[in-house]
Every structure is written in structure tokens, then in C-alpha cells.
């Protein structure tokens, strides 16, 4: 009689307990490695940080450490990190953060290991001072990351395609073609007229470097959206390039864009140091056909990353050791030589291994000198908390000018649209 009721209760209780058990197990599985002696450190980043070979070297020297590399899409990795910080579980032991997102994460410094406590203060003098400050909380008490690379700007171009168009191919003469962006665009028109092919990959890759050259970006220091300063200049320049019909209209960082490197669908590309690795990975067969010239309008920064240790890491000490090892000159130089990411420690620019480095993939261009020169002369702009999404929103409007509903419409209509979308992103 009462037995059946009790049985029901027991049944329900048992299944509930089973579910809790399952949930409990999955929650704990992250920390199971202590017992076996070997520690697994997870590193999350995007693109190519040049870690593949370094990983093996570090593991060989530290038999108790295994490194697990997790590379993904740029925006996705940052969004993922944000989710896991709030969820309180699942973040990697070392998370890379790009400068476009760094303000957002610096605002949550309590969720990261304060590297000053681990003794990272000794490296302050080694870094470009603005790079050090980008991850330092405004009160100066917590340092959440150590800089890896900076993205000083240059212009990569295809010598073979330039030759076919009757343009000069030697890098100084190419640089002389375009002291200003207007001259750059008219060079593009010459190229397109001569070959019938497009000159640049996409309007967005004019927008980003021009924006990087302005003193004020999307946001002022108070995190208020400022569209009429730098963004307006950059937008107009990009729009002009699109209207000159020299753009191959390939939205950047997407499969068709990647494929176009190999097909030679465009002849020039704005090149922060880290772009070298991307070109090499996308079109290994074009080795020797590329070269590096100066960018119109002078220095500017586009990109550059940091390595951080989320507090959730169960092996924070081991993670710090690895992080410290990665930023040592030897490793930084190796990464530069391999994938082109320029270190953010200026002393290294005097090191012969960087100063005299010429990249055979880029027709032996003295990339060490080119990029360190632009990096030293930089005053980076402030990037607000919502910089990442805002940039994507404006890039979308440029893409619509290239091949969507805004194609051929008056410029002020496109600009109104860009302002509207940026505002939406700022308040989303």
C-alpha cells in the first residue's frame, strides 16, 4: 500500500541523483590531471601564434607539462572566453586577447590572475610602455596580460602582378607611388585599367589601416561613440576606393578571401606584421612573389595580442611559467621569424636576429627593419569596450557598398547607415 508510494519516490529520487551525478562528473573533469603527475595546459588563440614548434620544445624540457593548443576564429575565441569567465568554468589556462577586446576584459580584472603577484613587474621596462598599459588596470594595481606582438603597418604587394601592369616592382619605388591614400587609389586605377583585374582585396582592408592611423578611433576615453573623427576619415577613404572600382569585393577573413591569395585576385594588401603569417599560410605557392612597401599615410597600429591567465585555471603557476617562457627574447624572435608576429619589446628590434631578418617569402624584404620602425613610432589609439562589435558593424556597411543594397547609392546614405549600425553595436 504505502509501499508503492515510497517506490515512486525512490524511483524519482534515484533518477534525479543519477542526473546530478552525471552533472557533477562533467563539472569536475577539468581538474583531473593532478593525480597523474602530468599537467595539461590549454592555450586558446586564433590564427597562427607560431606555437606549434615551441610546444614540442617546452614539453621536452618540462616532462610534467603537456600543452594543448586550441586555435579558432578571432571573434569566436573572445566571445567564448567571455562566456566562460561568467560561467566560472571552462576557460583555458592561457587565453590570448587581442587589443580590440582588451578593454572589455581589463574591466573584469578580478577574473584574471594578477601577473604582478606572480612577479611579472620585472618585465615592465622591457615593453613598449603603451603596450604594458593596455592590460594594466587604470589604478595600476593589476596586470592581466603580457604583450606578445604589435601590428605596425606596411603594404604587401605582388611583384609579378605589378610587373604585368607596367608598374615599378622595386620596393622603394613602389613606396614612392603612394605617399597619400589618394595617390594609392589612383595607382589602383592605373593597375585596373592596365590589367582588367582588381587592385585591392576589400574596402574593409582600407578602412582598418586608415582608422589605425587616426588619433581617435570609434570611442573616446569615456567610452562614448565618436563617429565623426577617425571613423569618418577612414570610411570616406574606403568608400572612395570602392567607388574607384579597384576592389575585388572579398569580405576579409572568409574562405573566398583566403582562396583569392592563391588566385592573385588582388595585388596589394594592407599588412600589419601578423598578416605575413596569414599570407604565407593561405598561399604557400606564391613564395617570392610578394614584397613589402610603405603604407600611405605613415605609421599606425592594427592588431596585436596579449596572453592572460584566467583565475579559473587550476594550474595557474604552471601556466605562468609557460607564459614567462614564451615572452623571453629567444621565443619571441623565433615566432617573428616563423610567422612574422613582431614582438612588443623594443630592445629586440636591435637584436640582429630581428634587425637583419629578411623574409624570403616576401622577396627577401627587410621586414625586421620595416616593421620595427613602424612599431617604435606608434602612438596607439584608445579602443573602447565595444570596439570589436562596432568594427564588425561598420565593416558590414562597407561590404554592402561593395555588393549589396547600398551599391551605387549616394555616399551620405551609406555613412548614415554606418553611423546607425555603429550605434546599434555600441548599445547592443
Amino acid at each position: 500500500m504505502a509501499g508503492s508510494g515510497a517506490r515512486w519516490v525512490r524511483l524519482v529520487a534515484a533518477s534525479a541523483a543519477g542526473m546530478l551525478l552525471v552533472a557533477g562528473c562533467s563539472g569536475n573533469s577539468g581538474g583531473g590531471s593532478e593525480s597523474g603527475g602530468a599537467v595539461t595546459l590549454k592555450i586558446a588563440y586564433w590564427g597562427d601564434f607560431g606555437l606549434d614548434e615551441l610546444k614540442g620544445r617546452y614539453e621536452a624540457a618540462n616532462p610534467n607539462v603537456k600543452i594543448s593548443l586550441n586555435t579558432g576564429e578571432y571573434n569566436a575565441q573572445h566571445e567564448d572566453l567571455q562566456k566562460k569567465l561568467i560561467a566560472g568554468d571552462g576557460a583555458p589556462d592561457i587565453a590570448a586577447i587581442d587589443e580590440g577586446f582588451v578593454v572589455q576584459f581589463r574591466g573584469q580584472a578580478d577574473k584574471f590572475v594578477n601577473l604582478l603577484d606572480s612577479g611579472a613587474g620585472q618585465y615592465e621596462s622591457k615593453y613598449l610602455s603603451w603596450k604594458w598599459k593596455q592590460t594594466l588596470t587604470p589604478d595600476g594595481k593589476a596586470q592581466i596580460g603580457l604583450g606578445t606582438d604589435v601590428g605596425g603597418l606596411a603594404m604587401c604587394y605582388r611583384t609579378d602582378l605589378f610587373q604585368a601592369a607596367g608598374l615599378p616592382t622595386e620596393r622603394d619605388r613602389v613606396s614612392a607611388l603612394w605617399p597619400t591614400w589618394d595617390q594609392f587609389i589612383s595607382t589602383g586605377e592605373t593597375y585596373t585599367r592596365a590589367t582588367g583585374k582588381k587592385f585591392i582585396d576589400s574596402g574593409t582592408n582600407i578602412f582598418n589601416p586608415v582608422l589605425g592611423q587616426q588619433s581617435v578611433g570609434f570611442y573616446d576615453q569615456g567610452d562614448a561613440l565618436q563617429m565623426n573623427g577617425g571613423p569618418k576619415v577612414a570610411f570616406d577613404t574606403a568608400a572612395k576606393a570602392i567607388r574607384a572600382d579597384i576592389s575585388a569585393n572579398l569580405p576579409a577573413f572568409q574562405p573566398e578571401w583566403n582562396a583569392a591569395f592563391a588566385k592573385g585576385s588582388f595585388a596589394v594588401l594592407a599588412c600589419p606584421a601578423w598578416m605575413q603569417g596569414h599570407i604565407k599560410n593561405s598561399a604557400p605557392d606564391t613564395a617570392g612573389k610578394w614584397d613589402v612597401a610603405a603604407i600611405p599615410g605613415g605609421g599606425g597600429n592594427w592588431g596585436g595580442s596579449f596572453l592572460t591567465i584566467p583565475k579559473q585555471s587550476k594550474h595557474a603557476d604552471e601556466a605562468y611559467k609557460l607564459l614567462e617562457w614564451l615572452i623571453q627574447p629567444e621565443q619571441q624572435i623565433e615566432i617573428f621569424n616563423k610567422v612574422g608576429n613582431l614582438p612588443s619589446q623594443p630592445a629586440l628590434y636591435q637584436d640582429p636576429a630581428i634587425r637583419d631578418f629578411t623574409n624570403p617569402f616576401f622577396n627577401n624584404a627587410p621586414v625586421g627593419q620595416i616593421f620595427s620602425k613602424t612599431a617604435e613610432g606608434l602612438t596607439p589609439q584608445y579602443l573602447g569596450r565595444k570596439n570589436g562589435p562596432t568594427r564588425v558593424a561598420v565593416e558590414n556597411v562597407l561590404n554592402r557598398m561593395q555588393n549589396g543594397d547600398l551599391k551605387g547609392k549616394p555616399l551620405n546614405q551609406a555613412w548614415t547607415e554606418a553611423t546607425k549600425e555603429a550605434q546599434k553595436a555600441a548599445t547592443s
Binding site: 500500500m1 504505502a2 508503492s4 508510494g5 524511483l11 524519482v12 533518477s15 542526473m19 576564429e73 571573434n75 569566436a76 566571445e79 567571455q82 562566456k83 561568467i86 572589455q104 569580405p251 577573413f253 572568409q254 574562405p255 573566398e256 562589435p389 564588425v392 558590414n396 556597411v397 561590404n399 554592402r400 555588393n403 549589396g404 543594397d405 547600398l406 551599391k407 546599434k424 547592443s428
Partner: protein
């Protein structure tokens, strides 16, 4: 339940049964009790796993989702929390993105469901006739359904590529396009067409087999009688077949309404950078499900995303009910 169980005093054998052997009535009673227990409670035990899982993974999330919809909840700002009341729903009413997504969803839904079910009906009635290699054809129409949706979508995305896509190549061979290839992703009509094609390709065969199964139960002599009366193939299809398989038609309409309004994988993967979840540079083909994903997991605004999914839930209920009603009428139903 325990009340009825508390009443086992009179086993069918009855106390007036055989006086010999003390354990026999005992065993009898025990077996009886077991039998009754089996009859009464085993069905509940057998359906229990589903309902337990439904409670945990179905009902609880729906209710919890409703609670979240009434709160501020942001993943990038843990301090912004607390009750929002109806603020999230009010925001919904003035959100361009939401109305754009709703418009897209319905556009793609109409473009896919109507041809899909019509064609499925026609194919089913063809397969219902005597054909050579009947089984081969029947299995054939189901093949698209077996293909993983991600795989087929990625293939379609390549077919409809702007540069070097097969679709543009075919159009140019037929001299149907101008100088420039069609950029399928840049306008509403073309991207909707692409998505509807994917959906239709996958589900026509599936629906056709459902219809076919229902058609098999229609007696042949009805058709013969109709033929004698001079009804052609089309008239037979609309006047005999459709009314006689009406329950299945309603079922497929409701099913494709739910599926169509929740469209997610196809629009997501049509974008070259699937992660963007934007549905084109101007949200040309952003569906509601995709927008919910974007608001929740890219803008990290969970409260607002929850409000959107509740709105979608209500919309689906209404549309499915209306559709079922219309289909019922069209099929000649009286209720």
C-alpha cells in the same frame, strides 16, 4: 492511486476457495497482486523516463527561459542583473533587427513550405502508381533526408558561390545572366531562394514518403469508380487523395511550420564566416533563430534573447494553429 491499492482484500479466488493447502491461496494472492501491479503501474513506469527527461530538459528550460526573459542578464557585465519586467519585450517591439528577421523567416518559410508540400504530394501520388524499380525510387526520394544537414548546406553554399559557383556557371551557359555573376548572398530574394532550395531539397522526399504511406490505405476501387465517372489524374489527386489523407497533410503542415520558423543551420552556414550569425551584411537572410543566437551568444544579452525565443514560441503556436485550420478547410474537413 494508493487508495485503490489499499483495497486488495478480496482476491478473485475468494475466501470460499479450496480449504486444503495453506500456501496455495497465498501464492495465488501474491501472483494476483503482482498482476494487478503490472497492469496498473507498469505503463507509468515505462513512460516515466520520457516525462522525467521532458521535465528536466523540456519543461524546466521553457519555464526558466520565461523567467530569464523578465530579467536583465548580460554575460559581459555581471553587475547588470535583476528584474526587467516587460522591458525586454518592449524593446522587441521597436527592434528593427527583430522585425527584419521575422520578415525573412516568413519569406523563407513560404518559399519553402508551399512548393515542398505540393511537390511531395505530386511525387507521392506518382510513387503510388505501378512503377518499374519502385523501391529504388522510394528509397531515392528519402536520400536527401538521410544526408546530414550540415554537409548538404555546405555543398549548397559552394554551389551558390559568387565566384566559381555551379549555379552561376549553369546560368551563364544558358545565357540567363548579364555580365556580372549573381551574388546570391547580397539580396533578399536570391538568398531566400538559395535557402528555400536547401530546405525543399531535404524535406520533399521525407514528406512524400509520409504521404505515400497514407495513400497506401486508400482503397483502389475508389479511384476506379472515379475514373469511370471521368475524373482525371489531377481531379483524383485533389478530390480523393488529399481529403482521404487529410490527417497526414495536417501533420506535415504543422511539422514544417515548426521546422520552417526555427530555421537555423542553413542560414548559419550560408554565411562564409558562420560565426558571424549576421545573415548577410545587412541581415538579408537572418532568421529569428539566428538572431536569438546572435543576441544571446555574441551580444551576450541573455535576457533579451530569452524574450525573443518566447516570442518565437508564441508565434509558432499561432501560425501552426492557423495553418492546421486552413489545411483542414482546404482538405474538405468539417471540423
Amino acid at each position: 492511486m494508493s487508495v485503490t491499492r489499499a483495497d486488495p482484500a478480496a482476491p478473485p479466488g475468494g475466501p470460499a476457495g479450496r480449504p486444503t493447502g495453506r500456501d496455495e491461496p497465498d501464492r495465488h494472492r501474491w501472483r494476483n497482486r503482482l498482476h494487478r501491479f503490472d497492469m496498473r503501474f507498469t505503463p507509468y513506469l515505462l513512460v516515466a523516463p520520457f516525462f522525467l527527461l521532458f521535465l528536466v530538459f523540456g519543461l524546466f528550460p521553457i519555464i526558466f527561459n520565461g523567467v530569464v526573459a523578465l530579467r536583465h542578464w548580460r554575460l559581459d557585465d555581471a553587475t547588470l542583473t535583476g528584474w526587467a519586467g516587460l522591458a525586454n519585450f518592449e524593446k522587441l517591439l521597436t527592434d528593427d533587427d527583430f522585425w527584419n528577421a521575422l520578415y525573412n523567416t516568413f519569406g523563407i518559410f513560404v518559399l519553402s513550405t508551399v512548393p515542398q508540400l505540393t511537390l511531395a504530394l505530386v511525387i507521392a501520388s506518382v510513387l503510388n502508381r505501378r512503377l518499374r524499380a519502385q523501391t529504388w525510387f522510394r528509397v531515392g526520394v528519402l536520400l536527401p533526408y538521410v544526408t546530414p544537414i550540415t554537409a548538404s548546406t555546405l555543398v549548397f553554399a559552394v554551389v551558390f558561390a559568387r565566384d566559381g559557383g555551379v549555379a552561376n556557371w549553369v546560368l551563364s551557359v544558358l545565357h540567363l545572366t548579364g555580365d556580372e555573376p549573381i551574388d546570391w548572398r547580397s539580396a533578399k530574394w536570391s538568398s531566400w531562394f538559395v535557402l528555400a532550395t536547401m530546405v525543399n531539397w531535404k524535406w520533399i522526399g521525407y514528406n512524400a514518403l509520409l504521404y505515400l504511406a497514407a495513400m497506401q490505405s486508400i482503397p483502389r476501387d475508389i479511384y476506379e469508380a472515379a475514373a469511370v465517372d471521368g475524373a482525371g489524374v489531377w481531379r483524383q489527386l485533389w478530390r480523393i487523395t488529399v481529403p482521404m489523407i487529410r490527417p497526414v497533410v495536417i501533420f506535415t503542415v504543422v511539422l514544417s511550420t515548426i521546422g520552417g520558423l526555427q530555421l537555423f543551420t542553413e542560414p548559419m552556414l550560408l554565411e562564409q564566416n558562420a560565426q558571424a550569425a549576421r545573415g548577410g551584411a545587412n541581415g538579408e537572410w537572418q532568421t529569428i533563430a539566428q538572431l536569438i543566437y546572435k543576441v544571446g551568444w555574441k551580444d551576450l544579452n541573455l535576457g533579451y534573447a530569452a524574450a525573443m525565443s518566447w516570442a518565437l514560441f508564441l508565434i509558432i503556436v499561432v501560425v501552426a494553429a492557423v495553418n492546421a485550420l486552413i489545411t483542414n478547410r482546404l482538405g474538405g474537413g468539417k471540423r
